[in-house]
Structures are given as C-alpha cells and as structure tokens.
Symmetry: C2
Subunit: 295 residues, 2 copies
C-alpha cells in the first residue's frame, strides 16, 4: 500500500507540534565546552559533532515534528562525518521525526540517480533539498519515491544575503526568475496526485528574509509545500513567516538552526545546554504557531 503523500505527513507534523523545523548544523567551535574538551583530531571532532547532533534530537523530541540535517557540516569531515550523519539520521527516524536532508544537490540524470540512492535508500530520509538549475533531470530520479511518502524541496527564493543576485532577475517582463523556475517545479509534478488538501510532494525553499516574495509564491503556488529558512539568526522574524502558511496554519515548515541549537551560548544564568535547546525550541514553536494561525 502506498504511504501517505509527503506533504500530508509534513502538514500532520505541523498540526501535531507546530511549524518549527529544527536545523542540525553542528559547527564544532560553537559546541558546548564539555563536548569540545580533549578533542584533538578531525575524527574526534566529527565524533563530538555526532554526540551534539544526537543530543539535539533528544532535546527537541516531543516539542517539534521536523528536523533538517545540513549535510555540509557532516561532509566537512569526509567519511568520519558520514558515519555521524548516518547514525544521527537513524536516531531521528527511529524517534518518529519527519527528516529532511539539506543537500541542495543538482546534477545530470545518471548522477541524480546515485544521489537518490543515497538519500532515499541508504539514509532513508523523508525529503531532500535540491537545486533545480539543471532542469527536470534533477528531480526525475526522485519522482518514483513520491509513492513511498517521500518528497523534496527545490530552491526557489533562498534566504541568503546574495540570493537576489541571480534569483530576482526578470525572466519575462516583470516575472522574476524564481517564479519562472517555480512554474517548472510545478510542471515536473504533472503526473503526481495532490493530497486531500491539494498539496504535491515536491515543494520549494522560500526564505523568511524575503517575506514579499514568499507571499507571492504562496498565492501563486498553493499546491507547493514550503521549507522556510532564514528565521531567527539570519534575520527573519516569526511574523515574517506568516505569508508562507495557507489559511489553515499549514503548508510550510520554518527552519531555525543557530537560534535553537546554540541557544545556550547567550545564557547569563548558567543552565544545562540541553535544557536551553529544549526551551528555545518551545518558544520558537509558540511564536511560529501564532504566526501560522494569524495568516
């Protein structure tokens, strides 16, 4: 039997816990001091990063429904990093989280098949981020996974400072490139069935740092679930994320990485860093639920 559409599962997690997606971007120099002690080699650094990732998963269990792993922070350590990534993703899946691998891969069809093997089979995540610049070849090897309840988020309007440079160029008169690209993302799914709420399993990345563009994307593409980065550390407020949601407070997950996982760094009164992470996730979840329901 086919599993639920990825979008259905994502929206269920948003209904059950709220729209927060915790981003696991473990940067060694920012880890709690006790995890950095006695670390000398790169392999030890990778192991500390793995322990930190596991601790984040445990600290937010029951508070959030969606986790996003930034693959770059694990690939940094090569093979040693992938040992930790594979182990942390397994822990997250066993705990029942919806798991997104933030890989932003995009290549020719034969190579994308290899990437799909890793992300959809070996790592067995629920969704992966993809870069659509190379066209439909990027997404094709992932389409068959839709019936297994998996999906992807294609980059549309990203949250970084330099995003506008290449994404807001006019592709047609008054029609910026990221809109044109998003039309393609929709057309690549013409053979897939939307779920009961009208959502397709391959959504888009739309940054909270560009709320007007996000609002435009939500109104033009009600079928596409959104992964919203840029909330918190990158400058987007909870209110900025409101335009990403549909009228039911669903349709989007909002990622926060540094604002949650390094919440202990700003503590004036010392407390356990795991508690600081749990508390930050709880507060962000409340703020985002308010934004989602105000939309």
């Amino acid at each position: 039997m086919a599993r639920d559409n990825f979008a259905t599962r994502l929206n269920a997690a948003v209904r059950d816990y709220g729209p927060l997606c915790v981003g696991i971007d473990p940067f060694f120099p920012s880890l709690p001091p006790e995890l950095r002690e006695r670390v000398v080699t790169r392999t030890e650094e990778a192991a500390a990063v793995g322990i930190f990732a596991d601790s984040i998963i445990d600290a937010v269990e029951g508070i959030v429904g969606v986790l996003k792993f930034q693959v770059g922070y694990f690939e940094k350590y090569g093979a040693a990093g992938y040992v930790e990534l594979e182990s942390a993703v397994r822990r997250a899946r066993n705990a029942g989280f919806v798991v997104i691998a933030d890989a932003k891969r995009g290549d020719i069809g034969s190579t994308m098949k290899a990437y799909a093997d890793f992300y959809m089979e070996v790592l067995d995540v629920d969704a992966v981020t993809l870069n659509p610049y190379m066209g439909s070849d990027v997404v094709k090897p992932f389409l068959p996974y839709a019936e297994r309840g998996k999906g992807a988020f294609l980059l549309s309007r990203t949250s970084n400072a330099a995003a506008a440079e290449l994404q807001e160029v006019s592709a047609r008169e008054g029609h910026p490139y990221y809109l044109y690209l998003t039309e393609r993302v929709l057309s690549w799914q013409q053979d897939l069935e939307p779920d009961n709420d009208g959502y397709l399993p391959f959504g888009i990345v739309a940054g909270a740092t560009a709320p007007e563009e996000m609002a435009l994307l939500r109104s033009r593409f009600p079928q596409l679930p959104m992964l919203v980065p840029g909330f918190g550390f990158q400058g987007g407020s909870a209110e900025d994320t409101a335009p990403a949601f549909d009228g039911n407070g669903t349709g989007a997950v909002v990622n926060s990485s540094r604002g949650i996982i390094y919440a202990f760094a700003g503590d004036s009164v010392p407390r356990d860093w795991r508690e600081a992470i749990s508390d930050a996730a709880r507060s962000a979840q409340v703020a985002l639920k308010n934004a989602a329901n105000a939309s």
Copy 2:
C-alpha cells in the same frame, strides 16, 4: 610563496598532455566482471568501486593530466564511499594529476565554508564544481584558495538534456540567463589577478552538447577557463568542443567519463580492461588535440 594560478596549472596540463579530462564516475553494475564477483554487501560494492577508481588512475597516468571525480557515485555509499573517494583522490594527487571534484555544491555562506573545508583542505583537490544559483555567497569561501593555486568551475550552460529549460530563459531581451549568470561569475573575481594568459582561477561549465552557446561563452568571456562535459557518451563530438578553446589550443578541458572508463564494454576481441581504458584515453586525447588546435 603563492602557487601558480589554477588556470595556469590547468593550461599547463593541457599543453603537456592534451585537453582530455577523464571522469571517474564508477557505477557498480558497469564495472569489469572480475571486480563484481563475490560482492554482496554495499560496503563490498563501495570497495570494488574504489579498486576500479584506482585502476582508472593507473591506466591513464602519462596519458592525461586532469581527472574529475563525480562525488555522487561515492556519496551513494555514504561513509564507505567517502573512504574510497578520499583514498582515490590521494592516489591521483600523488601521481601529479590536476584533480577536480565534481560536487556542484551551492549554499549559504556558512555552509559553503564547511564545503570549502572539505574540498580544499581535507580532500585537497585543485578545483571543485559549484552551482551559482544562490549568488556570490557560494563562491566567497573559495576565493581565498585562489592564492594557493586552487579554483572552481561554476555551472553556466550544462550538457544534460534538460539544461535549456532553466538556463536559456531570457534574463534580458535576447540575453539568456546563463550569460547573465556568467557575467556574475566574472564580477565575483574582480579582486583576483588574471594569469599571464589573462585567465582567472574560477571558470565555468559549458557543455559540448550545446556548441553554439559554448562558442558564445568563449568569445564573451576570454578570461574564464572552461570545463566541458558532454563529449562522447552524452553526444558531443570532438569537433563540437573546438569552440571552447582559445587560439592557442588551451583555455578548456574536455571531460569524458563513460566513453573512457567503460571502453572495455564494447570489445569484440577480449583484452585487458585496463588496456581498453588506456587506449580509449589515448584516442580521445588525439581527437581532442586536433579539435583544440583547429580552433
């Protein structure tokens, strides 16, 4: 002391050996039967892929100067694949090849710093392919490596079937998006010095399957070295690659993966598969030298 500019080193390899870059895209089902025997587990598959990669390196030593590793075929096996990638890249570097990692990474600045750590420090390749859709943030963490003789190739007009979908959209009247994007690639290097031949260390990917677009790119951007995929298996002929070269037969390397590394597959008279790879590299090198010198 600063090492030679990456472009200078790339062009030296083209002068010494010819423009062929051998692409190491090891796909297990296509490996020589003797390497597939008795392989059961994924880890054993990864090990066979590693042996094959090492054998390719040995078979083309003295025939070609540049190797490109397709990272996706190694990431397919997760940690086990990275063990093989790291080991094969070490072998290639020790043998004196110019080594390109075909990763097509592209993300926000902090994540690109992590990717730069891996590719430029841990793997220590000469160049990496990058996807510029997220703007200058993608390339910034790589710019400081220019003075250590390293570089990158940014996707411009790729070789795959679906490339035109998003790359040939008009960004301004009659000005396709890939040209607009390539102008940005040039501007991101405004603080870098060109080498004695006028080349900068961050070049572009321009597919042999679109020779007219490649010719346009070469004439508009004489400063940018080119990595040309799509020759051979993907359909581009040696003649199709001619427009990529400057008047001196340099300025571009032409990748061939499947046409070289699986050359043994079409053998009617059986011979050692390593010899078939060496022979295919020799013939491709001759055909490409002719094309480069005819330009």
